[in-house]
């Protein structure tokens, strides 16, 4: 790696900034706004320490720990509360941002052939990777500084300068850690979708390992970088040294990525490319078959993830039981709630989360149609004897089955794991029904994507904002005590929260009608518009 290898890095940095400044700005604004808003909301909602102690009490259960990590529940100040409930989740989102951006600047660039153009100019072999790191270092540093200083500037007693800076730095450094990891994977595999899939899978595995570790096997948490995030104990012990672990990991990844990039050919990876089939299997030979084949790996990975999510949540149910058994105050609290158990309430909250995670997969399945269009590959099908309706129907069938599968796996996994650890397990129908109740809301999301693709394909990915909105209001709705209509802006807000609520069929029927309507109108739009190319 001589000096030449990095030639013209500076110009590339400016070029990427020029191209992507708005994308980065939006990420930065969203993340900092979110982080700074939360402690203010907490201060508003839980003004006295007594309020916060009640909150701490409800947080003190294994399921919550599995979700957000351990917290300083003994001294649950606004700072401790923010760090406990927000830091880990925000770190995951920052990790996701870094995975997306790093992949975008490295393997995507290369796979689309743009890197070749750039490399033919007097630009060094490693300049692109170098520029990508510089850009993401800048972005993560900005995030760290703005968050850190911003939190301190809120002027909340329990949020001192040291803790606030550590909070920001943890986010920034975790981001860089995943940027480094993605850069490394981008050197190894040849295609950008695989890079994204692998990196995201590692992020989720890191989260799950930490969840299992935090609930009972503490040593396990130390294997996961996200375990290091919570080990920092921000706003209580302020363990700065965890930064060293994260930075060390980052440096290792970066060094490896540079090394591998230096020794490989352009467009190549390190996984052997096998020679494939000379002829297609009959299953591939239809628009539906093709659509499935293109998404097969993604769907299977997501299915496994859903099963794992279900099983992980289910496996803490037993601890939950014994926890409530030993906590008298909690028992009284729950007894007053119309005879439903706290475990059942917990299941109902979990199901919203599970359903929304499960929604990601069918939404991606339909959005793939748009992806194909952007890559000019629809002409191959529509230029042959395939009608537009048949084309969309293929993607739709996959999405609809896919959504059902995701809910079934998660709910089934949850029931199975819960049944094996609980003394008085839930009936299968109770849990499975609670999950499946969200299916109509999921279908509305799918219908919405079809509608967007039919009329405004360029912005069809805004559906993610809506999915995120739904997650945000339904998951945090209780914490922030939003008014009811805020939740009703999402189709998921109309679903009865089983097994606590009674089943209602009216919303189910109405949502299905809406989903069908959106889909039909979207298809009409798709049939009438130009195919981009």
């Amino acid at each position: 790696m001589n000096q030449q290898s990095f030639a013209n890095t500076g110009k590339l940095v400016r070029f990427i900034l020029r191209l992507d400044r708005f994308r980065m700005l939006i990420w930065l604004l969203a993340l900092t706004f979110f982080t700074l808003m939360v402690p203010l909301a907490f201060l508003d909602l839980y003004p006295s320490q007594a309020d916060r102690d009640v909150m701490a009490e409800t947080m003190e259960n294994p399921a919550m720990t599995a979700m957000v990590g351990p917290g300083d529940l003994g001294n649950y100040t606004v700072g401790a509360m923010t760090a406990h409930q927000m830091l880990l989740l925000t770190a995951v989102v920052v990790g996701l941002m870094n995975i997306l951006l790093m992949n975008r600047y490295t393997r995507s660039e290369e796979e689309d052939g743009r890197r070749e153009l750039v490399r033919s100019l007097p630009v060094g072999k490693l300049a692109n990777l170098n520029a990508s790191f510089i850009i993401l270092s800048l972005l993560n540093s900005l995030l760290a500084i703005i968050t850190g200083v911003g939190l301190y500037a809120l002027g909340i007693d329990s949020m001192g300068l040291s803790g606030s800076l550590l909070y920001g730095l943890i986010l920034g450094v975790t981001g860089l850690f995943f940027a480094g990891l993605t850069a490394l994977i981008a050197q190894i595999t040849e295609n950008a979708r695989t890079v994204f899939g692998f990196s995201l899978a590692l992020l989720l595995i890191a989260y799950l390992i930490r969840a299992i570790g935090d609930v009972g096997h503490e040593a396990l948490s130390w294997v996961s970088p996200l375990g290091w995030v919570t080990a920092a104990e921000v706003y209580s012990a302020n363990n700065w040294w965890v930064l060293l672990l994260l930075i060390g990991g980052t440096l290792l990844f970066v060094a490896l990525a540079f090394y591998l990039n230096a020794i490989r050919d352009l467009d190549a990876g390190f996984l052997p490319s096998r020679s494939g089939k000379r002829q297609a299997s009959p299953l591939l030979l239809s628009p539906l078959g093709l659509a499935f084949r293109l998404q097969r790996t993604g769907i299977m990975s997501w299915a496994i993830a859903m099963l794992l999510v279900g099983v992980s949540y289910g496996s803490v149910m037993g601890d939950l039981d014994s926890f409530f058994g030993s906590n008298e105050m909690m028992q009284q609290l729950l007894a007053s709630q119309e005879g439903t158990s706290f475990t059942a309430q917990f299941v109902s909250v979990l199901m919203v989360v599970v359903a929304l995670i499960g929604t990601v997969s069918p939404v991606m399945a339909v959005l793939r149609l748009n992806g194909e269009e952007k890559k000019d590959r629809l002409d191959h099908l529509l230029g042959r004897a395939v009608s537009r309706t048949r084309l969309v129907a293929g993607y739709l069938v996959i999405a609809v089955i896919n959504g059902f599968l995701m809910l079934s796996l998660a709910a089934g996994g949850l029931w199975l794991a819960a049944a094996s650890v609980m003394e008085e397990p839930f009936a299968f129908g109770e849990i499975y029904g609670a999950g499946l109740a969200y299916y109509p809301a999921m279908l509305v999301m799918v219908g919405l994507v079809v509608l967007l693709i039919g009329f405004v394909p360029k912005v069809s990915s805004v559906v993610w904002l809506y999915v995120f909105y739904s997650f945000f209001v339904l998951y945090f709705g209780g914490v922030f005590q939003f008014p009811e209509w805020v939740g009703k802006l999402s189709p998921f807000g109309y679903i009865p929260e089983l097994p606590v609520d009674e089943m209602e069929w009216a919303p189910v029927v109405i949502l299905i009608v809406i989903a069908v309507g959106l889909t039909a109108v979207g298809m009409l739009g798709f049939n009438r518009r130009d195919i981009q190319g």
Partner: protein, 301 residues
């Protein structure tokens, strides 16, 4: 009978007219060359003909059916090769060829497929990710020519092929024509068009600026002459139909409009011809004249 016909076909992208009032027709059994510089509107026209884009104005029909309304019916009888062949990185070439053949409908001719794979010297077991542009085009060409279509619509199909493969491609086109099939070939490789096409339409800035059979169009072109004479030729520059006169020592090179050739040769022969070379008018000359645009052609003669 016209298999393909457009009348006043216009396509706007916002306020931009990509295709402007185009009238072309492709007859049964002919190869129609559709030529023009990059961005002229060839691909846009073709994508309207395939029902991917909806015409802003005008009519277009193939086999007497409307290209937008009856797209699927029409596509059962045509084979299309796009200019930019983007394939799925994870599928092999062989899989994609099968997919393309199957989606067109009709019988799968396995023998023809193998024959073409051999002819184009193509390895169908590799993933599409590893194919060069030429190889991706081969996928599309093999699927097209392995199918029994009545009309082939080819959008710059040879821009990534090497000369040997280009010849194979030309053989395929000629074979199709001999079987009475029709071809719409968009191209900017002139030797290819001259070789294959019965008629051509030249498009620039969305408009057809010239069309007709190659012979008809040659009338519009100029013959290149190189002459050496015993005496110096005089008053040549003032003659009608003479352009680009250049003197190099004794030799003289000039371009002559085809209709004035007779007069010019008579004039030159007075000066004692030592050597006379003439180069036939090429499509290239015609092409260049139109490419040069309004300013250049206004400056001459």
């Amino acid at each position: 009978m016209a298999l393909l016909k457009t009348e006043g076909l216009t396509k706007m992208f916002g306020n931009f007219k990509a295709v402007d009032d185009i009238n072309i027709d492709v007859q049964k059994g002919e190869v129609y060359g559709f030529i023009g510089p990059n961005g002229a509107g060839k691909s846009t026209t073709i994508r309207v003909l395939l029902g991917m884009l909806k015409a802003t104005n005008g009519k277009a029909s193939i086999f007497g059916k409307d290209v937008w309304q009856d797209a699927v019916e029409i596509h059962k009888r045509i084979a299309y090769v796009p200019g930019d062949v983007n394939l799925w990185p994870n599928l092999t070439g062989g899989e994609v060829i099968d997919l393309f053949m199957k989606l067109r409908g009709g019988a799968m001719n396995k023998n023809r497929r193998e024959e073409l794979i051999g002819k184009f010297n193509f390895d169908p077991s590799k993933k599409c990710r590893t194919y060069s542009k030429g190889n991706r085009q081969k996928v599309s060409l093999i699927a097209a020519f392995a199918s029994d279509a009545d009309l082939y619509i080819l959008d710059e199909p040879t821009s990534g092929l090497d000369p040997l493969m280009e010849r194979t491609f030309q053989e395929c086109v000629m074979e199709a024509r001999d079987e009475g099939k029709s071809v719409l070939l968009s191209s900017h490789i002139l030797s290819e068009v001259e070789r294959l096409c019965d008629r051509v339409g030249i498009i620039r800035d969305g408009q057809i600026i010239e069309s007709g059979s190659l012979d008809e169009l040659r009338h519009l072109t100029r013959t290149n002459l190189n002459v050496e004479t015993k005496q110096q030729i005089t008053s040549l520059d003032d003659m009608k139909g003479v352009h680009h006169v250049e003197r190099k020592e004794q030799a003289l090179s000039l371009q002559v409009d085809t209709e004035n050739l007779d007069d010019v040769i008579r004039h030159i022969s007075q000066f004692g011809v030592v050597k006379l070379e003439s180069a036939p008018p090429t499509l290239e000359d015609l092409f260049m004249r139109h490419y040069e645009g309004a300013s250049a052609s206004g400056g001459e003669s």
